[in-house]
């Protein structure tokens, strides 16, 4: 692995270390950006706070679910 990849991986592991969290938070922020910018989604703007909270909680739940699935897979192999 070259030095640039190692640096990117180090930064990734420092800030997040979990691809589900990275994708979940990024997706939530993108959805909010769309709601903020697209005129057709204006009715949803009042609920942006709730959407953000739901997005964060969903990310946490999915990340933990992945952890459980990995743990159960390791247990069944043993």
């Amino acid at each position: 692995m070259n030095i640039i990849m190692k640096v990117i991986l180090a930064i990734y592991n420092f800030f997040v270390g979990d691809i589900v969290i990275l994708i979940g938070v990024t997706a939530t922020m993108l959805i909010l950006a769309l709601i903020n910018k697209v005129d057709g989604l204006e009715p949803l703007r009042d609920g942006m706070g709730a959407i953000l909270i739901v997005g964060v909680l969903a990310t946490l739940v999915l990340s933990e679910a992945r952890g459980i699935a990995t743990s159960e897979r390791s247990a069944s192999i043993r």
Partner: protein, 253 residues
Amino acid sequence: MLDAMQWAIFTAAFLAAGVEWVEAFTLVLAASVSTNRRSAIVGALLALAVLALLIVTLGVALVTLVPLEVLRFVIGFLLLLFGLKWLKDAIQRYTGLKRKRDEEAVFLSNVDTAPARPSPEESIDSFGVLLAFKGVLLEGLEGAFVAISFAGGGMGALAAASLGVASAAVVVVTVGTFVQAPLRRIPENTLKFVVGILLTAYGTFWAGESYGIEWPLADLALVLLGLGYLFASAILITTIRNRTTEVVTEPVP
């Protein structure tokens, strides 16, 4: 005198940095035992100087040069990533999916990899300096990031966070000097859980503000967000524990 918001920021930074300083202390202690105290202290002080410089220069630069909306968006995003990482790991340790950190084991493994004999007390041993420097720098980076991230709240918030980080260092060093052993009794996972909740709440709050969300009850919304995430995390922990118990007690067909 700090206002309520700044006290909350001070507390978050104090707890986040405190956990990391405990881990750094273990490595400094290992360096001290395996070489000598002088080398360990030199390494630790060098790392602290680097961290202080980082917080001051980067933090002040962010507050003064970056527009507030951009800063809150980026900081909010990073705090959400960082906070969820801490929260996820703490929940996994509570539920047994991940092993808790054992400061004693870390201390012993670092002493084992050290040179065969300690160096004379008056000399500066490069191994000891490097071990202490690396430990304090790497562990302290997370605390430094938390302090810098509160630049999203302005100069007052940055100052409160920096004070929290520095206070935590003073407390850990003071306790550690008396104990003279790895600090095993600190409830590290509980602190990481609380910090995860706080950082996720702040990340949500500032990310939301960067999109123009007007949180009801203004700054009090932070408390409500924290309590909400705490409640959700408690449910998650209970659910995971019940599920992992079911997996263990299921009869083999």
